[in-house]
Amino acid sequence: MRGTIVIDEYRCKGCELCTTVCPKDLIHMADRFTARGYHPAVLTDPGVACTGCLLCSTICPDAAITVYREAGAKRAAAVVAPQ
């Protein structure tokens, strides 16, 4: 299953929690500061490894991550998050 995420830098507070849960280790913290003074998280996925597994968005305290998956992966199933 192929997926990706979009991180809203305006919301990201640089807590790094998403980086600790990604099973593919695809998220890292940028060096730069956001306008609000945080280092934002960024997706680095050159190998297109993201599965859209929802783990990062589930732990993100700022609802800053939107998760996408390739169509065809059943939508309903996706909305119900994994246990």
């Binding site: 192929r2 997926g3 990706t4 979009v6 305006y10 919301r11 507070k13 640089g14 807590c15 790094e16 929690l17 600790t20 849960v21 609000r36 945080y38 996925d45 297109v48 859209g52 929802l54 783990l55 968005s57 589930t58 732990i59 993100c60 305290p61 700022d62 609802a63 991550i65 939107t66 998760v67 996408y68 998956r69 390739e70 169509a71 992966a73 939508r75 996706a78 909305v79 998050a81 994994p82 246990q83």
Partner: protein, 258 residues
Amino acid sequence: MLTDAMEIVWQRPSSLTPALTHYCPGCGHGIINRLVGEVIDELGIRETTIGVASVGCSVFAYNYFDCDFAEAAHGRAPAMATGIKRVRPDRTVFTYQGDGDLASIGTAEIVHAAARGENITVIFVNNAVYGMTGGQMAPTSLPGMKTTSSPFGRDVHRAGFPIRMSEMLATLDGTSYIVRRSTHDPGNVNKTKKAIKTAFQTQINGLGFSLVEILSACPVNWNLTAEEALHYVEEKLVPYYPLGDLKVAETVKNMSVR
């Protein structure tokens, strides 16, 4: 890599406003606010829900939820919610309370709302400290825990033992659904969401008092990074505050869920 073939499988719940929260990075309130928002979305009750914020770091919750909201006095959210619900039994009324608020100054109000079986839902965020005022000891702080008001660590001989509120409230006949959950990893976050949903459904079905206690990180006042704070929840809080269902009334077990 976002392609045209992709569709959104998760996004910010629409029951949350676009406002940026004032929570610290890594704060559990952020997760829990969101979960409540998701549940309100899924149940389609945004327009018929009235929230009651408490005094604590979540005091501005009313800025973050896109539904009617009241901000209660410290500890009195269950009383205020009672007033609202009694007049508007057709509305879904929930309180959102911290552990200082609910387990300390607001003890009488939560015990009696529970005893009365008030048909409201309580989201009880236990981060084992007074977050907003700068990390003082809460009734829920662990034995030995260093806080700004227990600088030598909580001495149970002077300051007493932590209170397991859910266990205590579960002894009351008036309660219908009382469970404890945690937010220290995605799996537990999802379980928490499910419990919140059940709690709201308990109310919607008129089955009485529901409360979800949620163990939550306060990295700033614990002097930990966000990641360390989640470990702290898992390794220190969960053993003292075991996760599980303290009380699930038969009526709740049997209720038809949407």
